[in-house]
């Protein structure tokens, strides 16, 4: 079974600071990787995803993430954060199956609560 570890449970930054949120996964096979964001009281929204190809993926709102296979990592970055980025961020993974195919349920990390101070 796969597992996901997010190292920072709470992060507090000032506006314009750079952001990096760590995510490591544990799984022996090939995976699909996702970052979701949850604003207070709202549903989860997809920020970005990695399936294959370029390990540096760009998402919405200026976020990007880099897949480093050798480190089993998929860290989220943003060069300059804004107050509106205050939210909960979840890294998630599902196994990529070659036979049968199909989207599997996601395994989520515990989340990182990001607070941006004006």
């Amino acid at each position: 079974a796969q597992s996901v570890s997010q190292h920072n449970h709470h992060v507090i930054l000032s506006e314009a600071a750079s952001l990096e949120l760590g995510c490591n996964y544990s799984y022996g096979g090939t995976v699909n990787l996702f970052w979701y964001v949850q604003y207070p009281g709202q549903h989860l929204q997809l920020l970005l995803k990695y399936f294959s190809g370029d390990p540096l993926v760009k998402g919405i709102k200026g976020f990007e993430a880099e897949f480093i296979k050798s480190k089993f990592s998929f860290n989220l970055r943003k060069p300059s954060v804004q107050w509106s980025d205050t939210a909960e961020y979840f890294c998630a993974v599902n196994a990529r199956r070659y036979s049968g195919g199909g989207a599997d349920g996601l395994t989520f990390g515990k989340g990182t609560h990001l607070i941006i101070q004006p």
Partner: protein, 114 residues
């Protein structure tokens, strides 16, 4: 924008009562997921369906929880009898059947069992 619709948004009920949560997936999506979010456990997969057939419900307590898809536009999650430890936000998500496609989440049902 197509959305996953969940009802009710909030539910408060007493312990022992039956609770039914409903989800309307995005039209054309053939995979439906149920997740539960709590402070202690975070987001956990409870069950999921593909083409209305249950594929995995290993995350769901079998004695009191049941999940069904009566038709392609409706998924239900029932708890009977409910217990205070079931208090959580329950999210439904839908996606395409091809591997790795992102899941689209509904707004969730915030359930409080007194």
């Amino acid at each position: 924008d197509a959305r996953v619709t969940q009802t009710p948004r909030h539910k408060v009920t007493e312990m022992g009562q039956e609770v039914t949560m409903r989800c309307q997936p995005i039209l054309g999506h053939n995979t439906v997921f149920w997740y539960r979010q709590t402070m202690m456990q975070g987001l956990e997969l409870l069950a999921y369906f593909r083409n209305r057939a249950p594929l995995d419900d290993s995350g769901m307590p079998k004695d009191r929880f049941s999940a069904e898809m009566p038709d392609a536009t409706l998924a239900t999650l029932k708890i009977q009898p409910s217990e205070p430890r079931d208090s959580a936000v329950y999210f439904c998500a839908s996606g395409l059947g091809t591997g790795g496609q992102p899941q689209h989440f509904g707004d969730g049902t915030r359930l409080s069992i007194l």
